[in-house]
């Protein structure tokens, strides 16, 4: 209980600090939302009217406090930039709520791919004594890891979209309209995210397992007459998984927080893309909530990892 309380306190403090820093950076960077909206057509009257409408005339502290109390009350505010209809702006909750499923599904798809492929691959790699296979996997994983994700995204689009025509580039359909079409389209961006991560995780697992196989307890297990299978899955894999879980956790945090690059390349309207465009248009209420969301995801995932450690290795909680 004490542990949970401590974690919760850290969470709240971190979120508070993150929101203040995000707010301050928006005060510092040049260009504000009014000039972003009115562009080169700005007239002094329109600027004044817009500033008033958006409540930008208040001093920064007042604006921050207004915003923060709103959020605490569950009111995330409205976007400065996106319209809901002719006269109203889009509430942030609605905007993010609409984009979040895209990112979450994308994350889920890629995560399934990563786990389903990288763990068997890593185990097989660690077990194999075939030097040719070893060399081949070395080359393949090194290469996959080295490709920047935007380039991989473009290659996937080009190969599967334009050459093989397995999907239509830019043919994204909303999950509300056509769930199957949505899922089908998401497979390829998910693949672009998963490929380098699969390579990394498989390598990581293999190295971790090879290291564990040198340990004394493995020799002991064998000398007690345990089968190779029992030793590998019961002892080695279990111990080797601990660093891998940390690594997977980092990956999860990264992709749930928004696969910014891949969303851009595939034209997916997810939170990563929303974050980029909201920063460039200085849409403060949207950016704040997205940054808080990302901070929350990262802290929460690390908390989960912590718990998982205890499940995999009960000794940790005793320490």
């Amino acid at each position: 209980m004490k542990y949970l309380g401590k974690k919760l306190f850290t969470l709240v403090m971190t979120l508070f600090l993150v929101s203040v820093i995000a707010f301050l950076s928006f005060e510092i960077i040049p260009g504000d939302v009014v000039s972003s909206i009115l562009g080169t057509e700005a007239t002094p009257e329109r600027e004044a009217q817009l500033r008033e409408e958006l409540g930008l005339n208040d001093p920064p502290v007042v604006r921050y406090v207004n915003w923060a109390t709103g959020v605490l009350k569950g009111d995330l505010g409205v976007s400065y930039r996106y319209s809901k209809n002719m006269n109203e702006m889009m509430p942030v909750a609605e905007l993010v709520g609409d984009k979040l499923p895209v990112t979450l599904w994308l994350a889920a798809f890629s995560l399934i791919m990563i786990i389903a492929v990288s763990i068997p691959l890593g185990v097989m790699w660690a077990k194999s004594n075939n030097r040719f296979l070893d060399a081949a996997l070395n080359v393949v994983t090194q290469t996959t890891m080295a490709i920047p994700s935007f380039f991989l995204g473009i290659m996937v689009t080009y190969i599967f979209g334009i050459l093989l025509k397995w999907f239509a580039p830019g043919g994204y359909v909303s999950y509300e309209k056509d769930p199957w079409g949505f899922a089908g389209y998401l497979l390829f961006p998910a693949l672009s995210i998963a490929l380098p991560k699969i390579a990394m995780t498989a390598r990581f697992l293999r190295n971790s397992m090879l290291k564990e196989m040198q340990s004394d307890y493995v020799r002991t297990a064998y000398s007690k007459g345990a089968t190779k299978r029992k030793v590998m899955y019961g002892h080695v894999l279990r111990n080797a998984m601990i660093p891998v879980i940390t690594f997977l956790g980092m990956i999860i945090a990264e992709i749930v927080a928004g696969s910014i690059v891949v969303e851009q390349v595939f034209g997916l309207p997810g939170v990563g893309r929303l974050l980029i465009s909201s920063i460039s248009t200085r849409d403060f209420p949207v950016v704040e909530i997205l940054i808080l969301y990302i901070a929350f995801v990262i802290i929460f995932v690390y908390f989960l990892i912590d718990i998982l450690y205890r499940v995999v290795d009960p000794r940790i909680s005793e320490k």
């Binding site: 960077i29 040049p30 260009g31 504000d32 000039s35 972003s36 909206i37 009115l38 562009g39 080169t40 057509e41 700005a42 007239t43 002094p44 009257e45 329109r46 004044a48 009217q49 976007s79 930039r81 996106y82 319209s83 209809n85 002719m86 006269n87 109203e88 889009m90 905007l95 609409d98 984009k99 473009i154 689009t157 080009y158 979209g161 334009i162 239509a168 580039p169 830019g170 043919g171 909303s174 851009q264 390349v265 595939f266 034209g267 309207p269 893309r273 929303l274 465009s277 460039s280 248009t281 200085r282």
Partner: protein, 513 residues
């Protein structure tokens, strides 16, 4: 640096090779295969580059928003593809001799998308809202001189303005919306245009559908148009190659080359004045000889060839050639190729025989301007001016360069509406839009006269003089109106080019296979 220029040159050559014989530099909007019978129905995806800044036709300022809203909203008058005005919601209008009273006769039985007939009340409300008579803030700045809107009878509305201006009529393209809808919090956009609003999703786009009761009978042909927001020019290209977009404007020259086989790629003159804008208030650019030297140093033919495949239209004084009645060709003054000797002489005369350092601020999201910058840096180097490019994020550029005027030189494009005054008004000494700090009492005087005359012949004369002064004093180094290249699916016909930012989908139709 030489290497970079060489690279550009190579890519220009490559593009020309890809384009085959299409590099004769003509920018006449090509007419597509409209010999085939138009068919009704079908759905089209139009790729657009920007998200919507507002769904309110009076508040929207971005060109990217207006070009889509053109399909939903109409004014009393509206632009046609030749840059003239045609009657829309008004069937006729008269202007009093002193230019202070406009009397509009409303077309009978024009319907809003909600089924109601447009009344004089709606027109009065819309004009009062746009001109700021409702709450004091003019939303459409060209209408700021309107002082009174009166309903004469059910079909007639009279507008009174404070000062005469022959170009004011263009302000009446402002959208007519149902009375009260500007304050109704839950209102969807409702207009009288050929398409009615269906839905909008941030970052995804807007869907509109055919308005069956549109007053121009026979239009539109299409049942549905999806204006889809495309992230970046790169993903636009992939989507075009994957055929998920049917229409996409503002292609780069290399993209146009790649799409030549799969799409109809048509070019027309854009309504953008691209220039190396010079801050007339900072040394050494405050010396007219230095500014002239820069004009002489530029080889605009080369710029046009390198960055636009030779399809742009060179210009020298901030007026667009598409405004045929007002444009004067001043390209001879500094020539379209470089005159390095003259440039060096002028620099020596001004006291800079060894040149000087010049920073060119460019909004880096505009690849076209960035590429132009690279060519210009090389050209200026040849006369001893050591220019460097400073890339700016768009908002920072707006704040520091455009609004803050803290810059030496910048490359950018200024867009126009349909009026010549719009382009030239910014060069008056005290104009809030005069970001280059151009200052010439003579220019101010001529511009005022042009603005105040109702005689169109005289007006054209004054504007010609104004352009001459601007060019003579080298207010900036004007470059070109870049070509707008548009890819259109081979299944479609009837796409029209406008001299203003408009994507008119009402005349587009599918051709029989």
């Amino acid at each position: 640096m030489k290497k970079r220029l060489f690279g550009l040159f190579l890519s220009a050559l490559l593009t020309m090779a890809v384009l085959g014989g299409c590099t004769d530099g003509t920018v006449e909007p090509s007419v597509d295969h409209s010999s085939k019978e138009p068919t009704y129905g079908g759905s089209v995806v139009v790729g657009i580059q920007q998200d919507f800044d507002s769904l309110d036709p009076h508040k929207a300022t971005a060109a990217g928003t207006k070009e889509v809203l053109f399909n939903i909203f109409e004014g009393l008058v509206k632009p046609d593809e030749n840059g003239n005005l045609m009657n829309a919601i008004a069937s006729d209008y008269t202007v009093s001799e002193d230019g202070l009273r406009y009397t509009f006769t409303l077309r009978e039985n024009v319907k809003f998308h909600n089924g109601n007939v447009v009344t004089a009340e709606d027109v009065k409300y819309s004009l009062e809202r746009a001109s700021g008579l409702l709450d004091g803030t003019p939303l459409v700045s060209t209408l700021r001189t309107v002082t009174k809107v009166d309903i004469i009878d059910e079909q007639t509305v009279q507008v009174t303005v404070g000062s005469a201006n022959a170009e004011l009529i263009y302000g009446f393209v402002a959208a007519i919306i149902p009375a009260g809808s500007g304050e109704d919090a839950t209102a969807d956009p409702v207009g009288t245009g050929p398409f009615s609003y269906v839905s909008y999703k941030p970052q995804e786009g807007m869907i509109v559908q055919k308005f069956a009761d549109y007053w121009q009978t026979g239009l539109p042909y299409l049942d549905e148009v999806n204006f889809k927001i495309v992230n970046s020019p790169d993903s636009a290209l992939l989507e075009l190659q994957g055929k998920t977009i049917d229409v996409y404007a503002y292609l780069t020259d290399s993209q146009a080359g790649l799409l030549q086989n799969d799409y109809q790629v048509l070019a027309s003159a854009s309504n953008v004045v691209q220039a190396l804008y010079l801050n007339n208030a900072v040394a050494p650019l405050d010396d007219v000889r230095v500014r002239r030297a820069i004009c002489y140093a530029l080889d605009r033919d080369e710029i046009n060839l390198f960055v636009g495949g030779g399809k742009g239209t060179l210009l020298s004084a901030g007026m667009l050639p598409t405004l045929k009645d007002y444009y004067v060709d001043l390209n001879d003054i500094y020539g379209t190729t470089d005159n390095q000797q003259k440039a060096k002489d002028l620099l020596t005369e001004a006291g800079y025989p060894d040149g000087f350092d010049l920073e060119i601020a460019i909004p880096s999201n505009y690849e076209f301007h960035m590429q132009t910058g690279e060519v210009i840096v090389e050209q200026l180097k040849a006369v001893g001016i050591n220019a460097t490019i400073q890339g700016y994020e768009w908002n920072s550029w707006l704040e520091q360069v455009y609004n803050g005027r803290q810059f030496e030189a910048t490359i950018s494009g200024v867009t126009s509406d349909m009026t010549p005054g719009y382009l030239l008004t910014r060069f008056q000494t005290d104009s809030p839009k005069n970001f280059i700090n151009f200052s010439s009492p003579e220019y101010d005087d001529i511009f005022k006269r042009a603005e105040n005359t109702m005689d169109l012949k005289l007006k054209a004369d004054y504007y010609a003089q104004a352009q001459k002064i601007l060019c003579d004093l080298a207010g900036s180094a004007f470059i070109q109106a870049p070509a707008n290249q548009t890819a259109i699916s081979k299944k479609l016909a009837g796409y029209k080019f406008y001299p203003v930012y408009v994507q008119d989908m009402s005349t587009v139709y599918f051709v029989e296979e």
